[in-house]
């Protein structure tokens, strides 16, 4: 019934999903109320929007090179989540937020997300769709476009959340030269070091995906995050058991993983 070589994957899938669902239902039912640890990069967003408001300069926001049609879609959706939060703050404070989408299919979603956040802030009439500026669906033209606009618009706060590749340092450098406060996060491990070096605050890996739960305080999302923590504990436990068994010459766990 299950393809050869995928039995262990299937068992692990069941465990991870079960952990996630149990944690989610317990949190939603109010039987558990896990607290999320402090994530400085997300706390800094309000400071960045406040700074832009005081300086009378815009905020630049990007969600990287991902779309919803690729394997990095979860990072893009996390980025759009943060866009909604930042946009709501910008609407409250009266700051201008410019979003530069890469993938054309993201544009309508971004319009929707930003419009909703302006409505939540009670300033629906101030929403301007022209603050979502499409710069072509190719990596370096897009990066160069953001670079030029960051400089010309005198961006005060630069926020990059999503999947990034070789353009990450270009974006971070442009923000540095325009004197912007920079908050950036990606789960692309081959690029995160650029953000750690060049941005004021960096969201490392899964911190980006935790943003939705952290900012919304929604019990469903917090429960899901709690469940993910349990799956990490399972991973640590299996690593330790595997190391001990292998050192003792027992190959049972490795044999199971090969199933």
């Amino acid at each position: 019934m299950i393809n050869e070589g995928l039995v262990a994957s299937f068992v692990m899938l069941i465990i991870v999903v079960a952990e996630g669902l149990i944690a989610l239902f317990l949190t939603r039912a109010g039987k558990a109320s896990p607290k999320i640890r402090n994530i400085p990069g997300l706390e800094a967003i309000e400071e960045a929007v406040g700074r832009a408001t005081e300086m009378g300069r815009p905020i630049a926001f990007t969600t990287g090179l991902g779309g919803i049609r690729d394997q990095y879609y979860y990072q893009t959706i996390a980025g759009l989540n943060i866009l909604g939060y930042t946009s709501e703050l910008a609407a409250k404070y009266g700051a201008k937020l410019i979003y530069y989408p890469y993938d054309p299919t993201i544009m309508p979603m971004a319009v929707d997300v930003m419009e909703q956040s302006y409505i939540r802030a009670g300033k629906s009439d101030e929403f301007n769709p022209e603050n979502i500026e499409y710069l072509g669906g190719d990596q370096f033209p897009w990066a160069f476009g953001v670079l030029g606009r960051t400089y010309r618009e005198k961006i005060a706060a630069s926020i990059h959340m999503g999947p990034f590749w070789a353009e990450s340092l270009i974006l971070a450098e442009s923000g540095f030269y325009s004197g912007a406060i920079q908050i950036a996060g990606t789960a692309n491990y081959h690029q995160i070091h650029f953000f750690v070096v060049a941005a004021d605050y960096a969201l490392i890996g899964e911190e980006l995906m935790a943003a939705g739960a952290y900012l919304s305080k929604d019990p469903t999302q917090i429960g899901s995050l709690w469940g993910a923590d349990f799956s990490k504990i399972t991973t640590v436990a299996l690593i330790l058991i595997g190391v001990i068994l292998t050192a003792a010459g027992v190959t049972a766990l490795n044999d199971f993983f090969a199933l």
Binding site: M12, V16, K35, Y73, G136, W142, F194, V197, I239, F257
Partner: protein, 245 residues
């Protein structure tokens, strides 16, 4: 692939575009801005052509699709068309359906791969690290020491990503060690990537050095002209009154 008869044009355009883009390093100027706009326009048109080809030429009129009576393909096409409800005030919400369907499909497709690569391979590879046996604790550094460092690194770095427990006590110590491991990894990756970027820069210099047309190395003559253009623009900008910030 550029046709040979357009080599000269490609050389001229490539050289000027390269120098004008690099002039941004001095400051943002009209020449870099012109190339920026040209670059974005080309990318937008390329994306449009690519998507048109993918959606219509292959999806609708391509072989073994609707054209040959495979009506099943009408379903994704109709779902995709719902995206255009974005432009309708009354049925705006309908555009969310294709978005949800695509996101759901991606989640479903990804989850087995994620379980395999993020869990099983990680656990299996770590568990198989050599800790005992012949030669494991011989030489310097001994392979066994590498194994211990990797195991500690993986477990402590993973503990850094526990979000719903306070990083205090033993977990606090573990996350602190994990953070050092992460930073060391980032440092090594940064160095490696900078080397790769230098290689890209050298590639661009080689383009400027080697670009030729009918045995003429045109770029050698075009680079000074492009640089003179940048200097001319710099002098022109300097002569203009500066706008107040």
């Amino acid at each position: 692939m550029i046709p040979p008869e357009l080599d000269l044009f490609a050389a001229i355009f490539g050289v000027f575009a390269t120098i004008f883009i690099y002039s941004f390093l001095w400051k943002e100027n009209p020449l870099s801005r012109a190339v920026e706009h040209l670059f974005i326009g080309l990318a937008a048109v390329f994306t449009l052509a690519f998507m048109y080809d993918a959606a219509l030429t292959q999806g609708v009129w391509g072989t073994a699709r609707l054209y040959e009576g495979n009506l099943i393909w009408a379903i994704p096409i109709l779902i995709s068309l719902m995206y255009f409800f974005f432009f309708s005030k009354k049925y705006f919400y309908l555009y969310r359906y294709p978005v949800s369907i695509v996101a759901g499909i991606m989640a479903g497709m990804m989850i087995t791969g994620m379980i395999q690569s993020n869990f099983l391979v990680q656990i299996q590879s770590t568990a198989q690290l050599p800790l005992v046996g012949a030669g494991v604790w011989e030489g310097w550094p001994p392979p066994g020491l590498d194994s211990i460092i990797i195991i500690i690194g993986i477990i402590t770095a993973l503990s850094f990503f526990f979000f719903t427990w306070e990083h205090t006590g033993i977990l606090g110590v573990s996350t602190k060690i994990g953070r050092y491991f992460l930073m060391a990894t980032f440092g090594a990756a940064y160095g490696g990537t900078v080397m790769a970027r230098m290689s890209l820069f050298i590639g661009r210099l080689r383009f400027l050095y080697e670009t030729s047309y009918s045995d003429w190395f045109w770029a050698w003559y075009l680079v000074p002209i492009a640089v003179l253009c940048v200097v001319g623009v710099a002098l022109w900008q300097r002569s203009k009154p500066q706008a107040e910030d």
